[in-house]
């Protein structure tokens, strides 16, 4: 589903190269964890996948279902099924969460040539999804992410992911700022989305999240490259011994 080939990318403003020859393949149905120390390029990778203009790809390619997505803007990537759950979701003052969900869902439907959702059907879907994440409907009347707690923001991200039904989900540090109860709810929400035709990329710093969302593959990112790949035991190994061993091995 996702194939990243020898990717090099830099920050547009100052030319700093962040991704330096990254290779990664994630198959449909797979949950891949990307781990790595601070500054290894994890969040940058998620932004580049979603098409943020602050980064420029200088070499290599990103194939999604066999097609390069480099020329697509963020909205086109989103409508083709790529979803990024942000580490720091943005506040959109004055735009009720509910209204935002409706616009996003209908824009994606429009891009696929489908009719907009009828209001009752829309409300039904939102209510179900919100209930599964233990979210209060009253919260959805508030402007998106404005004044939300860290946990509420993360839940709102997973809510959007559920409703938009993407094919490639990228979760950037979704566990940061969550207490253990919220972590459980959010993880259950993600696990419910596991499906044979969907790939999930979980970017995280710690093993903790992977106890709840058990990955099929684990990849260690360091200095903009995947330096080691393995199964879930690799995450446990990192937890026990730290990154130093893996980094030393690669060097």
């Amino acid at each position: 589903m996702l194939e990243i080939r020898n990717l090099h990318a830099r920050i547009v403003d100052d030319g700093t190269e962040i991704i330096r020859g990254l290779n990664l393949t994630v198959k449909a149905g797979e949950v891949a964890a990307i781990m790595g120390p601070n500054g290894s390029g994890k969040s940058t990778l998620s932004y580049i996948l979603a098409g943020r203009e602050d980064y420029e790809v200088t070499e290599g390619d990103i194939l999604y279902n066999g097609r390069s997505i480099l020329e697509m803007d963020p909205a086109e990537r989103a409508t083709s099924g790529i979803f990024l759950a942000f580490q720091y979701p943005m506040e959109i003052p004055g735009v009720a969460t509910m209204e935002f969900l409706k616009v996003a869902m209908n824009e994606q439907r429009k891009a696929r040539g489908e009719e907009p959702l009828k209001i009752p059907e829309f409300l039904k879907r939102v209510k179900e999804a919100a209930a599964s994440l233990s979210m209060d409907m009253a919260m959805l009347k508030r402007p998106l992410n404005v004044g939300f707690s860290g946990g509420e923001k993360k839940r709102a991200e997973i809510l959007q992911m559920k409703l938009l039904e993407p094919k490639l989900c990228v979760l950037d540090e979704t566990d940061s700022g969550l207490d253990i109860d919220a972590l459980k709810i959010v993880s259950d929400g993600v696990n419910a989305l596991r499906a044979p035709d969907r790939a999930i990329v979980v970017i995280t710093h710690y093993q903790r999240l992977l106890e709840h969302i058990v990955p099929d593959t684990v990849h260690v990112l360091y200095k903009g490259q995947v330096i080691k790949s393995g199964d879930k035991s690799l995450a446990l190994d990192l937890e026990a011994n730290g990154y130093a061993g893996v980094i030393g091995e690669a060097a």
Binding site: D54, P74, A75, F86, P89, M90, I92, A104
Partner: protein
Amino acid sequence: MPAVQDTIDRVRKIDVDQYKYGFQTEIAVDKAPKGLSEDIIRFISAKKDEPSWMLEWRLEAYRRWLTLDEPTWARVHYPKIDFQDIYFYAAPKSTPGPTSLSDVDPELLKVYEKLGIPLREQEILAGVQKTDASELEEVSDNVYKSGRVAVDAVFDSVSVVTTFKKELAQAGVIFCSISEAIREHPELVKKYLGSVVPTSDNYYATLNSAVFTDGSFVFVPKGVRCPMELSTYFRMNEKNTGQFERTLIIAEEGAYVSYLEGCTAPQRDENQLHAAVVELVALDDAEIKYSTVQNWYPGDAEGKGGIYNFVTKRGDCRGDRSKISWTQVETGSAITWKYPSCILRGDDSSGEFYSIAVSNGYQQVDSGTKMIHLGKNTSSRIISKGIAAGFSQNTYRGQVSAHRKATNARNFTNCDSLLIGDQCGAHTVPYMEAKNSTAQFEHEATTSKISEDQKFYVMQRGIPEEEAIALIVNGFVKDVIQQLPMEFAVEAQKLIGISLEGSVG
């Protein structure tokens, strides 16, 4: 491409020619000769079959106008206007005061159809279509459940038709063109015309007093809540013709009325002048809510053409506990010079000003309000949202003052500006003056840019760039949109989206 460069390039390519109402209609017109003189004023007055006191009033204003100089304090720039090169009167030939819709030139009806303005009462009776968005919103207080709107349609210099007159008359409400009011209700016009904006008020108001051609007149008697929304649609069609509308709204003791004004004009290379005067009078316990959706032609991508909109709007809270609320959505005009104001004369009276001013291309907006606190325990509230894109300049200019006797005067002002791109400007010029130590004035102002982070986030959900900007901007102006009658709130949101097309970055 770097984001910033992309923004600049896009803004350069700006195309404000997407103006939807730019069509022009060929209609036989009756025009006064070009230029301005006492004879022209006599001509206008005679055309309107006015009583002699009205003509005298006009001539007096004209003589005063000759002694005045054009004001230059606003942050707008334009070549000097040649008043001898303007037609001051143009009327569709077929309408010497039509009494019913069947008397109106079918070409004219087509114009309003094209503009989406309902003039046929049976169509209006069917009710305004509910949109998806409104179902999600909570319904605000002052919504007329029937969804019906009475319309006065003004084409160039004359009112062509006013709907629902009979039904309104049953409630005791007078809603007609000002020309008709001068003929039919001279005692009311004499009593109130010029009582809020005197003929000597300012350059453009004085000019308007001399040459005003048409506009709406509303009188809501004591204790009556006007049974439906009233609205006037102004259309400027003729080339080189100025529109000088005059509107007068009176709410007697305990009366309530909500009024909406809409405006459009064809797309032309020449500038056209619009100099209106609107006067509102609220007596004890009365409330007037006045909303404007101004969408005059803004000029083309190079800043050629467009309407010069020099308007004096003022409300007088003459009675105790009276309330006047202005809501404006300003998206059009090449130049806007407009300060809907409230004189808070009655004790415990209150004034409100909610404004959204969107400028794009080379538009220049200098708009704001004045809240003049004279009575005791008066309060005012100002919420202004300026959005500047392209090469436009957007200025908020406001004055809040408390008179010596205005004990416990309170004001809250909030001015937010949003910049799109980096070639535009937003300015805030607040004046505050309290001659009374018990006055409490609060002022908040912010200027922000739509952040790349916000835009990226919204687009990541599958919302295309222009829609993403429109969504963020509509969130920014939400507080003001909520003040509009529900039927127009959705329209205003769309209009803001259209005005910003091509401005994204």
